[in-house]
């Protein structure tokens, strides 16, 4: 052995080796048991779900392609109508995007306040931090579709209940994400501004927002993508927009599958488009700043 063992080796190597091997054996045993439990849970959970299913998973599995095949074949037969249908449903698409955009904007503003009021070190009323945190928890815990159903019941069908429902969920979700960013913000500028006699809102505006703005905008854009999908889904429960038309087209069954096809094309196209645009902007915001 080399004479470099400056740390000294009071224990001999053999005992360290056997100790470590025992430790490895134990962790392997635990790992194996965890894996076993996982497999048992997977198999039993699957069986329970399969038993309670109306059909059977294995019986239905080979039919999984039937419906899309019907839709596609009918849409293909009537492909000459497609441009006309795309034009017909374009206003509905605009409505869907509108719902998503307005609700994202309102939700982001709500989330901004919730996050600043619910972050330790930044909050105006430190004692109320738990309150604002619970508010944002509740807002994002309730699914959009539940809020939308209640509001449609109260306000009647249309885009406004959908917008409010998505805005509430967005405010809760963004409030959480925003406050995680704000927690890592440097507090020195805030202290500097407070020392000049600035108010809380001035401190937040000039001390915190410039630091967190790129991340906030990036999260908001991500949320906008999610909200386009959400507003399309809410159409299914009568909140207007593309989802409403899609439900009608699909519920009528064969005969209107060409319309369903056109709506799918519009929806996929829009989601891919906004995905691409916003991911490009988010990359620019988070990586190459000032370039």
């Amino acid at each position: 052995m080399a004479d470099i063992s400056l740390g000294g080796a009071p224990q001999n190597v053999g005992s360290i080796q056997s100790h470590y091997m025992a430790q490895v054996q134990r962790s392997r045993l635990y790992g194996g048991l965890t894996l076993l439990v996982f497999i048992v849970l997977m198999v039993s959970g699957f069986n329970v779900a399969d038993d309670r299913n109306a059909g059977g998973f294995w019986d239905g599995l080979h039919q999984i392609g039937d419906y899309p095949a019907d839709v596609l074949s009918e849409a293909w037969e009537k492909r000459t109508d497609l441009p006309g249908l795309l034009a017909k449903y374009f206003p509905a698409l605009v409505e869907t995007i509108n719902i998503a955009a307005v609700s994202t904007l309102i939700g982001a503003i709500g989330g901004l306040f919730l996050s600043l009021l619910g972050t330790r070190g930044l909050a105006k009323w430190p004692r109320l931090i738990p309150l604002f945190r619970r508010i944002s928890d509740v807002m994002r815990a309730v699914p959009e579709i539940v809020i939308a159903l209640v509001l449609i019941f109260v306000l009647g069908g249309g885009p406004v209940p959908a917008m409010i429902a998505i805005a509430i969920h967005t405010a809760g979700a963004l409030g959480k994400m925003f406050s995680e960013v704000a927690e890592n913000a440097d507090l020195k500028p805030v202290e500097g501004l407070t020392s000049t006699g600035a108010t809380w809102s001035q401190c937040m505006l000039l001390g915190v927002l410039p630091q967190v703005a790129p991340n906030y905008v990036s999260y908001t854009l991500l949320r906008f993508e999610i909200n386009i999908r959400a507003s399309a889904i809410l159409g299914f429960v009568g909140a207007g927009g593309l989802g409403y038309e899609l439900r009608n087209a699909m519920a009528w069954g064969p005969g209107r599958f060409d319309e369903a096809g056109a709506i799918f094309i519009l929806l996929f196209g829009t989601i891919v488009f906004f995905d691409q645009v916003s991911s490009r902007y988010r990359n620019r915001l988070t990586e190459g700043q000032g370039q």
Binding site: I4, S5, G7, Q17, Y20, R28
Partner: protein, 271 residues
């Protein structure tokens, strides 16, 4: 054995390494010195194939290293271990697991997932740790160790690869003088006892002079000096570092004994 021919690396308009030529015939301990940004790290990273060369070739025993892809490239990386300034261990895993990472090239991803290392490898890892004097740290998490200990774990990981060449990128730059000495002595011992080639980027002249059999000086991407430590006069050192007449070797020293030297005391008094 190892031959580097006109190796060049460009990042946009800047040339980090400019047509470097190095030839190593027998296992040697080589120190590369130069200012920050002289291209030392880039050179080592190209040797390990962490980054690709813009032009030029690296040949090891007749094999063109720069042309390797996929599995052949990973196999070369096993034979050419690397040690980093910030140790680059997995902080939350225990010391022995970190050392066993040196065998990853031989293991499948599935075996790695379930931590199935053969007992012989585990024993060998602990023997290597014992050789470096840190065997009793074996079951601890890597992040719980001091910097010097972590760097020795990194050396143990490199040894576990059983490499022909060990590259060390500023191995002692984050360590205090005492630990720096231990780490450099370990690298020297590995070179002498195992006959492995060690190539270390160093930022202090006296370390290079003391531990290395050959010193290469780089300035602005070019190799401006290549010789034995005895040829490394103060004039040559000034040229490598691009320093003026006020440059003194002691000023860059991390050795404890330097503090007793007369010129340093005088410098301290003036300052």
């Amino acid at each position: 054995m190892l031959k580097i021919n006109a190796l060049t690396k460009r990042f946009g308009d800047t040339t980090a390494v400019d047509a470097a030529n190095i030839s190593v015939d027998k296992p040697t301990m080589i120190g590369i010195i130069g200012r920050s940004g002289a291209g030392k790290s880039t050179l080592l990273r190209m040797l390990n194939r962490l980054s690709d060369a813009t032009a030029g070739t690296i040949t090891f025993e007749g094999e063109d290293i720069t042309a390797l892809r996929g599995a052949a490239k990973r196999s070369w990386q096993t034979r050419c271990a690397m040690i980093f300034q910030q140790f680059n261990l997995v902080p939350r895993m225990d010391v022995v697991s970190n050392v066993l990472h040196g065998t990853l090239n031989k293991r499948s991803t599935l075996a790695t997932l379930f931590n199935l290392y053969p007992q012989s490898d585990i024993h060998k890892a602990i023997e290597i740790l014992d050789r470096l004097g840190i065997a009793e740290q074996a079951p601890k998490r890597a992040e719980a160790l001091s910097g010097g200990q972590q760097q020795r774990v990194a050396i143990a990981r490199a040894l576990m690869q059983d490499p022909r060449i060990i590259l060390a990128d500023e191995p002692i730059a984050s360590l205090d003088p005492m630990n720096a000495q231990v780490v450099m002595q370990s690298l020297r011992a590995i070179h002498e006892e195992d006959g492995r080639t060690v190539i270390a980027n160093l930022h202090t002249l006296d370390t290079a002079r003391r531990y290395c059999g050959r010193v290469i000086g780089m300035r602005e991407g070019r190799i401006v000096f290549d010789g034995v430590p005895q040829q490394l006069t103060t004039g040559v050192a000034r040229d490598i570092y691009g320093a003026g007449g006020d440059f003194s070797e002691a000023a860059t020293s991390t050795e404890i004994e330097t503090l007793d030297r007369q010129e340093v005391r005088e410098a301290a008094v003036i300052a």
